[in-house]
Amino acid sequence: MIELILVLAIPLTTSLVLAFIGHRAYAATINIAGSLLTFLAAASLTNRVVRFGPMNLLDEQFFVDPLNVFLIALTALVGFTTSVFSRPYMRVEHDHGRLSAGRLRLYHSMFQMFMCTMLLALSTNNIGILWVAMEAATLTTVLLVALYRTPESLEAAWKYFILCGVGIAQALFGTILIYFAAEQVFGHTQGAMLWTHLFAYRTELEPTVLSLAFVFMIVGYGTKTGLVPLHNWLPDAHAEGPTPVSAVLSGLLLNVALYAIIRCKVLVDGALETHFAGNLMMGFGLLTVVVPSFYLSRQKDVKRLFGYSSIEHMGLITFAFGMGGGVASFAGLLHMTVHSLTKSAIFFAVGHAAQMAGTQVIDDIKGLIKRSPTIGWGLMLGTLAILGMPPFGVFTSEFMILTTAIKHYPWATPILLTALGVAFAAMFSKVQGMAFGESTVRPLAHNPALLPVFLHLGLVLMLGLWIPTYLNEWFRQAARMVG
């Protein structure tokens, strides 16, 4: 129990401390220290859950099982590596005069607050608090996306704010509907909003209300996940925010929103004993894989390019969970992990590449490998990994998703394969141009922190070659819960 309190309290405290001293030179170090402590607490919480099974905490307000503890650990890990990356990155931005000291303070404080809201959304048992935490996460990231205060970043933040605000309002209506259905069973008590209670009595809940609620939920949280046709905010927010923010948006926030949908799916399909929620997720997922893959080749901004790639992968994961069953859910969880590790590694490399070139325009970045082999190869390997090349972990999970699709939904396989092929062609040629050739970029003033890039890629490579036994068991447990 103490671990969970620490997981939530450390980022909150760090955020409050950084709200006062976030502009000092040592603020970035405090940011790293806070994230490291959060990660250690999360690791210890994970250890406990894997060993002793799910647990309810603090009067059942919090609930930790293998499914969400896996995301808590992932969130804390990527949060930590991002804070390591952000130290030299933000220093360069500050030196270039793009950020004042006050903005830096806002950035540090909001980064930790954002981590706190995500961890709260993941660990809470109350579907109302889940909504509140998701909305709070939106608000903190709006401030982060608008950090540079350029016209473009303001536009991106406004679009993000309005679209996700509308989306999340739909999710609130869905939450009210679920509460309404639960109230018929539990009466007017706290318990009617607790997920564990809802799940235990799922067969007694009114099916029509639940299915209607799920439609609102998938539209609402789907906006935040970036499901087509509600994805419009995502590429802009990724392109205009500072790169560490793009990394945590892609790597973490999308996962958390998807987690909310998965929880609802488990509840609704459990209650309906049909495949209604799963089918809806498959439909949205398939659309979300296909549409962005055709936008990829038209992108000129490197961060927008990878933003679209994130949408595509979210679609693939949604599709996997929509299919359901042991293998597909396992693959979905694995893909969530490897996507978030790979994509954040790519954004780390892209961030430094853009700083070296002084621009985010793909055509103006050339010959990265010649000037800085680590950044260049980091970007190249990361791109190969995200495109699903063996032996990286993305290949494993995509292979599992495709084979399950062949077995149960053969009609979907050619659509998925075409989309993945188109994405490969578009992205590979663009990144190749950036990595190789004569160099046009300048070296950086501060040494970049590239350990996170290769740590992430190393983990993804390991997951592609060999999944450790305990991790395997853990994923299996989680996949069984998703069903």
Partner: protein
């Protein structure tokens, strides 16, 4: 649960009256061209929401609903309209609201939305054991009308008012269908709305500074 001092029918009639006024105000906002009147209409909607929450609290003896009603009163009837008025004065914008689609067309679309909302809400209303059977359809209609308003307005302030009106509709749904959500959740939502409003306020100034206008149509750099 229904320990009443007033006859139950009177209370439920009063709440149905509130629901009807909510819907009427939703349409009035949709048709309103002037920004100051829009803020006043939003304030009225908050007031109606407060009254209906108060009546439900009184009828059902749910004490936490009094707190919820109090929150509505302070936040949506007093604080937010005050902040909006101040913002308008500071930004010295008193222009008419421009709509992207003309108003009669918007109203027709609004009527269609209400029909859809009632159809969607029908299975839920049948189940509702609360004193306010018909109101959930109206609440959903209010949410959809605000949604429509958000799409058809091109300036930042009306978009925000539409966003807040949507929140009103959602709260009305929560009180009418379920006698309000647990306290901790309502407090959290109120906090989010408040923080969101502050950020909106900051944004207004930033957007004006950068674009010399609060017209969202100036922000069209990201055309695909």
């Amino acid at each position: 649960m229904f320990g009443l001092s007033l006859p139950e029918t009177l209370n439920s009639q009063l709440i149905n009256l509130c629901a009807a006024i909510m819907l009427l105000l939703g349409f009035a906002m949709l048709a309103q061209r002037r920004i100051l009147s829009l803020i006043n209409l939003f304030m009225l909607q908050g007031l109606v929401l407060f009254i209906s929450t108060f009546i439900v609290a009184y009828t059902t003896r749910q004490n936490h609903l009094y707190i919820s009603a109090g929150l509505t009163l302070t936040l949506k009837v007093i604080a937010l309209p005050y902040i909006l008025h101040r913002l308008i004065r500071k930004l010295s914008v008193k222009w008419d609201v421009e709509t992207i689609i003309n108003i009669p067309t918007t109203m027709l679309a609004g009527i269609a939305l209400v029909v859809i909302a009632f159809n969607v809400a029908q299975p839920i209303s049948l189940l509702s054991g609360t004193i306010m059977r018909a109101t959930i359809g109206i609440a959903l209609a209010c949410v959809l009308l605000s949604f429509l308003m958000m799409i058809t307005r091109s300036k930042a302030v009306p978009q925000v008012i539409a966003f807040l009106a949507m929140e009103n509709g959602l709260f009305f749904a929560a009180t009418s269908a379920t006698y309000g959500m647990p306290m901790v959740v309502e407090l959290g939502i109120a906090l989010d709305v408040m923080v969101g409003m502050v950020i909106f306020g900051v944004f207004f100034f930033q957007i004006r500074q950068q674009f010399d206008s609060l017209d969202i149509r100036h922000m069209e750099r990201f055309k695909e």
